[in-house]
């Protein structure tokens, strides 16, 4: 009996499945939502440059038919800057873990947002360094136990959306793998955005975050832990700061246009507003 073929299969490289993600990992769902979004928009990922750094999330691009850069920790946006300056018409999408983009690559992140580089950054926030075995990451919540915080995380965590909004990003949203419809809709919007777009996707890592922080390797437990803490932006707007503590706010934070970065060009100094 022949199995029906997933219509998104056409975007996946030949002979690359099964993928290497653990059973229940959110990366597969993110890949799925991304391809669904591309398909509905009729934008072909094989014409894109798709970039991953290192980490589990960073492996998402290697399954796709586009041109791919991969294998160095945290430098995704630096690569993208070179590509976009030399070939501005290229569509560039980055898949990054929270460690990759918010820790080791943090400097590139804020400056790419400040410049309004025309790229889409999809951040899989699984609350830990997954590929290296579940260590604490900048987006691990306070007090949580990980492989390198056996007594609980003594540090506050980063809100990457707030960070890039402040730095100057022009499209910023947070979604969760537990809301596939909203996730896909958000990715569609982000894909069509011109300028720096970042979508943070709360994503379950049952193998490391689940087992160490939540004491269960069952994917449903991690997924539920995430979804129990999610509130929408509309709900959050009605809450005080104290009431919002420990919650993940889902929704769109900014969506506007401003000039995108394309490197310096020869222009008339007199037309520059800041020069008297």
């Amino acid at each position: 009996m022949s199995q029906p073929i997933n219509p998104l299969r056409k975007y996946i490289r030949e002979g690359k499945l099964p993928h290497f993600f653990c059973p229940g990992c959110g990366c597969g769902q993110i890949l799925n939502a991304f391809l669904q979004a591309c398909d509905e928009l009729s934008v072909d990922p094989s014409r894109m440059v798709i970039i991953g750094g290192v980490g589990c999330t960073a492996r998402i691009p290697v399954y796709l038919k586009g041109d791919v850069l991969h294998g160095v920790h945290g430098r995704t946006l630096a690569w993208a800057t070179g590509i976009k300056l030399h070939k501005p018409q290229t569509k560039v999408v980055i898949f990054a873990g929270d460690g990759d983009v918010a820790s080791i690559g943090g400097n590139h992140l804020i400056h790419a947002a400040r410049r309004n580089l025309d790229v889409l950054v999809v951040v899989a926030n699984n609350f830990n360094y997954a590929m290296t075995g579940g260590q604490v990451a900048p987006m691990t919540p306070s007090q949580v136990r990980t492989m390198t915080t056996p007594f609980g995380n003594p540090e506050p965590s980063f809100d990457i959306c707030e960070l890039v909004v402040t730095a100057g990003a022009t499209y910023v949203a947070r979604e969760a793998t537990g809301r596939p419809v909203q996730l896909e809709r958000t990715l569609k919007k982000a894909l069509t955005h011109e300028g720096f777009a970042l979508v943070e996707v709360l994503s379950q890592c049952p193998t490391n975050y689940g087992r160490y922080a939540l004491r269960s390797g069952d994917p449903a437990v991690t997924l539920k832990w995430i979804m129990d803490r999610c509130i929408t932006k509309a709900q959050a707007d009605k809450l005080s700061k104290e009431e919002k503590a420990g919650k993940f706010v889902l929704g769109e934070f900014v969506d506007f246009k401003r000039p995108i970065f394309c490197g310096s060009s020869v222009y008339d100094l007199e037309s520059c507003e800041c020069c008297e």
Partner: protein, 386 residues
């Protein structure tokens, strides 16, 4: 890269100049077709970025001042894989940060050019202390091509050569500059554009479904290139990869890849390694030097010859890969080879291993932020030549 005649004319400032070394690098890069530059401020390399920021946009290229040297080096790979002829310039401290990015460019065969104006531990004194790091900075197996100019004219000439070698071998090429020559003004002759030899990487003629980004036609060959974003579906990963670019953990695949990636440089040493010999024909003593240290050696050679000691100079234009054949040839003809360098004595080990059992060796080191004076080099000759 197609450039119009006027653009090419703007790119090549044909004529005789009295020019700063750092500016000569920029002019060499533009003459070679550089169309992407990324840099981060650092003395004594700043004049390269500054002049690039003026000159490059005027000829249709892109200039970027990144947030750090990591941005520069990875932006170079990104731009290069998209088809640019890309360069960065830094000084020792910044070169430290670039190592992983250079290793990446080696692994994915991205042609890039890096200028490192060596300096002394945060100060802008003269030094050649990074001669080993030039080559051995990145982790993993790799070959790098490192050129060592000794004058402003050579900063111009070698920069063109650096781009040509990078394009031909699809490998990072490093211009090992020094504070001395970078901040020196000298006569520079820029030839007419049509007399400058330009090498461009070979683009693939295959359709995307037949194209393999890491397949070369010869054992030690260089793959044909397809730029990013045109649907070729190439994977450029640092991880061990197959000819197709996919991450591949097969030990045979890994061994084969690095055999070719390093072999394409080491097996073409005859093309890459250049030296210049001065009065070596009758020499008993060879001074072996690179970069600005060649200059005092030339004077010391004359001082020694005036006193009846037959000294010659072997100038290493390429320091990596080591010009082994040329050094061995010298070792076979002289009785003593003295390496002269501005550090605690590093490259001398390469020379010693090649001279072993052929001639005596010695080293003249100087590690105090100053180039050797000719008298100092001559003093070493007199001391060891008995």
């Amino acid at each position: 890269m197609a450039t119009s005649t006027t653009e090419r004319a703007q790119r090549v400032l044909t004529g005789t100049h009295f020019m700063l070394g750092n500016y000569a690098v920029v002019e060499g890069a533009l003459a070679a077709g550089c169309d992407f530059f990324a840099g981060y401020p650092i003395t004594p390399a700043n004049e390269i970025s500054e002049r690039m920021s003026q000159r490059l946009p005027a000829v249709g290229g892109k200039f970027l001042q990144g947030e750090d040297e990591l941005c520069s080096i990875y932006a170079l790979s990104g731009a290069s894989l998209a088809g640019a002829k890309a360069m960065t310039a830094t000084a020792s401290a910044g070169y430290n940060y670039m190592q992983e990015g250079i290793g990446y460019a080696v692994a994915v065969e991205a042609p890039i050019v890096i200028v490192d104006v060596q300096r002394c531990r945060g100060e802008n004194f003269a030094s050649q202390a990074d001669v080993m790091q030039m080559k051995w900075g990145p982790s993993g197996d790799h070959e790098l091509i490192v050129l060592a100019p000794s004058s402003v004219q050579e900063l111009f000439d070698f920069t063109i050569r650096a781009f040509n070698l990078a394009e031909e071998f699809r490998n990072p090429v490093i211009i090992m500059s020094e504070t001395t020559i970078a901040l020196m003004r000298e006569r520079l002759v820029i030839p007419p554009a049509e007399e400058i030899e330009i090498v461009n990487r070979r683009y693939t003629s295959l359709p995307p479904d037949k194209y393999l980004p890491f397949k070369a036609n010869e054992e030690y060959g260089v793959p044909d290139f397809a730029p990013l974003g045109e649907g070729y579906g190439a994977i450029y990963s640092l991880n061990p990869h197959s000819e197709e670019g996919s991450i591949d953990w097969n030990p045979d695949v890994f061994e084969q890849l690095y055999k070719r990636i390093t072999g394409k440089v080491t097996q073409h040493r005859d093309k890459i390694c250049k030296t210049q010999a001065f009065k070596m024909d009758d020499a008993d003593v060879a001074l072996i030097a690179y970069g600005s240290e060649v200059r005092p050696c030339m004077d010391a050679m004359e001082m020694a010859r005036a006193d009846g000691i037959k000294v010659g100079v072997l100038k290493l234009d390429t320091v990596w890969p080591v010009p082994e054949e040329q050094i061995i040839q010298v070792a076979n003809h002289v009785k003593l080879a003295i390496t002269v360098e501005m550090n605690i004595g590093k490259y001398t080990r390469e020379v010693e291993r090649l001279c072993c059992a052929k001639c005596r060796t010695a080293v003249a080191t100087k590690n105090r932020g100053l180039v050797h004076f000719p008298e100092e080099v001559y003093a070493v000759i007199k001391e060891v030549w008995r």
